[in-house]
């Protein structure tokens, strides 16, 4: 029983460590997709956010300036995607593909320019996102270890759930959220009601970039302590999957992100304690589980009606 509680604590710790990057990016994806713009450039936006945050935090020594800089870097590429897809009516998948080439290219190039290596220099613990409640939870008995594992975690983990509530509120309780979702369903109707589809979608894609950048920042400033070319690989796509899985709702995406996060956590726990099960097969679990869950429970994920269709507002 004690061993079980201990393992459970470690799994929860790992889950809460791997979830925030995915959840930030998934919320970013929600913003873009609900406004009607397909954004597969999330991956690239996370990568540039991961690099920028680690670099700025290294030079300033301040984790929060670094964290914010990561978001802003993501926002810059979000704006580029928005310019192409919202203002110029470009094919959204193609533009997103371009972002996925450009952003990692720029990130690694700048890393080589600044650090003479494709990795950034590891951050000091003081420059990383701080661990919260280190004084409150101390190790000792089984249960205190458990609570320490679960709650003595990075501030970004707490932050992501706060942001999630804010995002939910924005989507479903504010005028902006209603307009944003309407633009994703029927842009022409919005336009006749005097809503600027262009402005709404542009802002949504920018926010999408910002949140994805923050997601990337969580990877380099909490999960790891430096940027490497392999920091992000695939997490942006997993976040997109989480959103489709969660039926384009932030709360649904959260469940999916926790599931993916937990599978990554399981991989760490089982991978170290049990050599009999192949680590490769365990790594496969999240993806297989997603497919099975989709077949069994979710079925058709209702995509916003105008998703992927360019809309150029008449003047």
């Amino acid at each position: 029983m004690d061993a079980f509680i201990n393992d459970l604590g470690i799994i929860l710790y790992a889950t809460l460590l791997y979830t925030p990057p995915l959840l930030f990016a998934a919320m970013g994806s929600c913003f873009s997709e609900l406004s009607g713009i397909v954004n597969i450039g999330i991956e690239g936006m996370m990568t540039i956010g991961a690099f920028t945050s680690a670099t700025v935090a290294y030079y300033t020594g301040n984790p929060w300036i670094g964290f914010l800089a990561g978001g802003l870097a993501g926002l810059a590429f979000g704006a580029l995607h928005a310019l192409a897809t919202v203002n110029l009516g470009a094919d959204q998948t193609i533009s997103g593909t371009a972002i996925n080439f450009l952003a990692p290219g720029v990130a690694i190039l700048m890393a080589k320019a600044l650090f003479n290596s494709s990795d950034t220099i590891p951050l000091d613990p003081t420059a990383k996102i701080p661990l919260l409640f280190s004084d409150v939870f101390t190790s000792g008995t089984v249960w205190s270890n458990f609570f320490k594992n679960v709650f003595n975690t990075y501030a970004s983990t707490y932050l992501v759930f706060i942001v999630l509530i804010v995002v939910w509120f924005v989507f479903y309780k504010t005028r902006y959220g209603l307009r944003l979702r309407a633009c994703g369903e029927h842009p022409a109707t919005c336009a006749t009601l005097g809503i600027s589809v262009t402005r709404t979608r542009f802002s949504a894609v920018c926010i999408s970039g910002f949140l994805s950048g923050l997601g990337g920042a969580c990877v380099t400033m909490a999960t790891m302590n430096q940027f490497r070319p392999t920091s992000i690989v695939g997490q942006g796509f997993i976040a997109i999957a989480a959103v489709i899985f969660g039926k384009f709702r932030p709360q649904g995406a959260m469940i999916a992100c926790l599931l993916f996060g937990m599978c990554s956590g399981l991989k760490v726990v089982v991978g170290t304690s049990n050599a009999a099960v192949s680590a490769q097969l365990i790594s496969m679990i999240p993806y297989v589980v997603t497919v099975i869950v989709l077949i069994l429970f979710v079925g058709k994920s209702r995509v916003p009606a105008a998703n992927g269709k360019p809309y150029i507002q008449a003047k």
Partner: protein, 357 residues
């Protein structure tokens, strides 16, 4: 006919324009880094064009990209977006590897067997996704991303089997038998490069086959009709579900064969991956640059291969090879917004006409 020609010409013009702009953007980033763009580009182009050996390498690098490019282009034309070429490439490569190591047979039997195994594996990998879409309406982009990763870990898992795992310490499979390789004869390779292989001719054949399917057959007509307008095609009596199966099967097989070509031509064995190799994702760019036209894809694949090879030599003068990614990204970005230029051109010509009246 002249209309078609004009459209092609304008597409080509836009592609060339995009490539020129992307080199300017790349130069900008090189300049920021304090590297002379002229020096870097001189190195890039001399690495590509200076010797027959280098040019042969560009073709070798480009060959698998032609296949993934064809796979994606074929899916684009038929209304499915095959972001799963990555996974189909990986399972194709692994199937060819298993056959190439284990089946004792002479070259004339073994090589076709490897290709068939790869095509079937890629085809099945594509069909699973099509099945999920048709049967349960599961979003194909999502399931393809999942199956890319499943393929990735499956390949790593299979590579660990003692039957095919390398005898040494290498984190890789054994080499496939020499009989399974598709290298050019020794004397040709001395003149070209050590990995020169017949793959490029297989690629040419694939280009012709895809062109014929799309342009000269009823099947191609139906597939394209679904790609243009699903509902109209359905109304016109075309079975849309069957078309999704067919499109994904052919697209998957093309990507799978690409995996076999890469393995039998160049790699000879499969290493345990540490990150996705991205042949499939690069295929998306190749398809876009080639305007989803089989012949265009052929040249786009070679172009990408050349930049990949040339880029790998940039490190020699201290310039980062990532500039190639920036160049490719910019090309794709400009192709994405290209219709803006076309639109303004049409407007201009309209204005001219009005002026003439």
């Amino acid at each position: 006919m002249s209309k078609v020609k004009k459209a092609l010409e304008s597409k080509l013009a836009i592609t060339v324009f995009s490539i020129v702009v992307s080199f300017v953007v790349g130069a900008f980033f090189l300049a920021i880094m304090g590297i002379s763009p002229i020096e870097a580009y001189a190195k890039l182009f001399s690495s590509i064009f200076s010797t027959p050996k280098n040019m042969a390498y560009c073709v070798v690098y480009g060959t698998p990209l032609i296949f993934t490019g064809l796979a994606v282009a074929f899916s684009f034309r038929t209304g499915v977006f095959n972001i799963g070429a990555e996974g189909q490439f990986v399972v194709g490569s692994m199937a060819a590897c298993v056959v190439g190591i284990l089946v004792p047979a002479p070259s004339i039997v073994l090589v076709p067997l490897c290709f068939i195994a790869a095509a079937v594996a890629g085809c099945l990998w594509g069909l699973i996704v099509a099945f999920l879409k048709v049967k349960w309406g599961i979003n194909e982009v999502l399931s393809m991303i999942m199956f890319n990763w499943i393929a990735y870990y499956l390949s790593n898992y299979i590579a660990g089997f003692s039957l095919i795992h390398s005898d040494g310490n290498a984190e890789a499979t054994k080499n496939v038998q020499d009989a399974a390789r598709i290298l050019f004869p020794e004397s040709w390779r001395d003149a070209l490069c050590p990995s020169s292989n017949w793959g490029i001719f297989v690629a040419l054949a694939a280009v012709v086959v895809v062109y014929i399917i799309l342009e000269k057959t009823t099947l191609g007509y139906q597939l394209k009709a679904v790609g243009f307008n699903r509902h109209a095609a359905e109304y016109g009596g075309i079975n849309v579900s069957r078309n999704i199966y067919t499109a994904m099967a052919i697209s998957g097989a093309l990507a799978g064969i690409g995996g076999a070509v890469q393995l039998l031509g160049m790699g000879a064995r499969i290493s345990i991956f540490t990150s996705q190799e991205s042949y499939g994702f690069q295929g998306i760019s190749v398809a876009l640059i080639g305007a989803s036209n089989p012949i265009g894809v052929f040249f786009a694949g070679i172009f990408y291969g050349a930049l990949k090879y040339g880029g790998s030599k940039l490190n020699l003068i201290g310039a980062p090879s990532e500039v190639v990614n920036i160049i490719m990204g910019t090309v794709v970005f400009f192709i994405a917004i290209s219709h803006v230029f076309r639109f303004t051109r049409i407007r201009k010509s309209k204005k001219k006409k009005e002026g003439a009246q």
